[in-house]
């Protein structure tokens, strides 16, 4: 805590204002310095993402659709969704879980798309990697903002947790300035479920409603209590 309730996040400003910056900037990673396979995975998506981001010759809707495909192909959404569901995944029915995963995917895409226009040339520089366990690696990068909007602060650390799934790397979590987004969502969902008798269906409906409101540019729906 420093001054106000938002003060601790002064360094998060550039990145937390746009989770998409991390994902988008991921697409704009600098290929240099990558040495491990996981680092190379991060770096090898450079041209693909950049091509989408910088392709202003196609309609905006098409560009968004291409980026959505890029994003969903890059991440293991189902795995992330199940993680964010926490202990409730053990008691939910398969149908409830499938509905939740679909709703989570729609919500995540809506959030990222709402931030797509905030990309303004930031890129990531791969700085190293650490192994969590065999096949599970955190690739460390630094967010470089050439616009100078960082207000004199050091570059923000953006880490990607990547795992090998059937021989292919996928992203399962992103950390911005030390904040893991998957963990943050898991804590939100856990709080919601505890206030709603662990009703996964209610969570799914709430996410659907939130996705609609994010797309409409509005705020959060009224939470059930």
């Amino acid at each position: 805590m420093t001054r106000l309730q938002f003060s601790p996040f002064s360094r998060l400003r550039a990145a937390m204002a746009a989770i998409i910056v991390a994902i988008v900037a991921f697409a704009a990673s600098e290929p240099a310095l990558a040495s491990t396979p996981a680092e190379q995975f991060v770096s090898q998506n450079v041209q693909r993402g950049l091509t989408i981001l910088n392709n202003h010759s196609i309609p905006e809707a098409q560009r968004r659709a291409e980026f959505r495909d890029f994003l969903t192909g890059l991440t293991d959404i189902r795995r992330i969704a199940l993680f964010t569901l926490g202990a409730a995944r053990r008691t939910a029915s398969p149908a409830e879980i499938d509905a939740f995963v679909n709703s989570f995917r729609d919500y995540a895409v809506a959030v990222y798309e709402s931030r797509l226009n905030q990309y303004s040339g930031q890129f990531l520089r791969v700085s190293g990697s650490s192994e969590v366990s065999p096949g599970d690696t955190v690739v460390q990068t630094l967010l470089v903002d050439p616009s100078g909007r960082s207000n004199g602060q050091e570059p923000i650390e953006v880490d990607f947790r990547v795992v090998q799934d059937n021989g292919h790397f996928v992203v399962i979590d992103v950390s911005i300035a030390g904040v893991w987004l998957g963990q943050e969502e898991r804590e939100q969902f856990s709080s919601f479920l505890q206030q709603n008798n662990n009703n996964v269906e209610a969570l799914t409906q709430h996410l659907q409603q939130l996705a609609l409101q994010v797309r409409a540019g509005g705020g959060q729906p009224q939470q059930q209590r």
């Binding site: 805590m1 420093t2 001054r3 106000l4 309730q5 938002f6 003060s7 601790p8 996040f9 002064s10 360094r11 998060l12 400003r13 937390m16 204002a17 746009a18 795995r79 993680f83 709402s114 931030r115 650490s130 192994e131 969590v132 955190v138 460390q140 207000n151 004199g152 602060q153 050091e154 570059p155 650390e157 880490d159 947790r161 795992v163 399962i172 979590d173 950390s175 300035a177 030390g178 904040v179 893991w180 998957g182 963990q183 943050e184 969502e185 804590e187 939100q188 969902f189 856990s190 709080s191 919601f192 505890q194 206030q195 939130l210 994010v214 540019g217 705020g219 959060q220 939470q223 209590r225």
Partner: protein
């Protein structure tokens, strides 16, 4: 008047804390084992949100609308530069001699060539800024973070960071120049500081509000994770990552 701004915020906080008792949030609620005061915290969080919506956000929006970006940047640079002694002291207390040297270098460059701190010439010169506070220092020394607290006006915190906030106020030179003639300056600087901080975080807070399922739980997670990272000086730690 050494701590005019701190006294004002505490007084306002106490008044508004009283208002919080009218909230409909369940005071017995606890969804996180490390947040035993969640019921109270949510009430204060709601009150802070209402205060922000009614006063802070409109003020910051007006500030953004009226003051051109270069001027806002100058104000931000100036205020950041003023806080350098606090950052320097905490750098030293954390044993970060290199960072302390950077803080001195930034302060010297920005105060002289940077026109009293209005222009950040240190960053282009290869000395980017960093933040250090006494809550972080206590964390580096091994002091724990629980329980989570939400304070009136001041927002997310914990006993360690609250103690750190008080210590930082005591260390701030701003609170030592407020001898009678400087009282208005001290209050004014504090007010501008807060408006600047709110304006700087406008997009962040708007998006948190728009995309969070439970803004309270979201802020709690963001605060804890960020502070832990800050105490590690941003270095990644993979040993505590959960299985996914």
């Amino acid at each position: 008047m050494r701590t005019s701004w701190a006294a004002l915020t505490i007084a306002l906080g106490l008044v508004l804390a009283g208002c919080a008792s009218t909230s409909t949030t369940n005071s017995q609620l606890q969804t996180d084992p490390d947040d035993p005061l969640e019921g109270w915290n949510r009430q204060v969080f709601d009150m802070n949100q209402r205060f922000d919506e009614a006063i802070m956000k409109p003020t910051a929006e007006a500030y953004i609308a009226v003051v051109p970006e270069p001027a806002r940047k100058g104000v931000h640079n100036f205020l950041t530069n003023l806080n350098s002694p606090v950052v320097f002291a905490n750098d030293l207390l954390q044993g970060e001699v290199g960072l302390a040297g950077e803080t001195v270098g930034r302060f010297g460059l920005n105060t002289t060539i940077g026109l009293g701190g209005l222009v950040d010439v240190a960053t282009p010169a290869g000395i980017p800024g960093h933040s250090s506070d006494f809550g972080q220092t206590l964390g580096v020394w091994g002091v724990g973070e629980d329980p989570y607290l939400v304070l009136p006006l001041l927002g997310p915190s914990n006993p360690r960071d609250l103690a750190g906030y008080v210590a930082d106020q005591a260390m701030s030179p701003l609170n030592y120049v407020g001898i009678r003639d400087y009282t208005y300056w001290s209050i004014g600087a504090g007010a501008v500081n807060i408006v600047d901080e709110r304006a700087q975080n406008m997009d962040t807070l708007n998006q948190l509000e728009q995309t969070s399922l439970d803004p309270y739980a979201s802020m709690r997670s963001l605060y804890r994770q960020y502070r832990r990272s800050h105490i590690r000086h941003g270095k990644s730690s993979v040993k505590d990552l959960p299985s996914m």
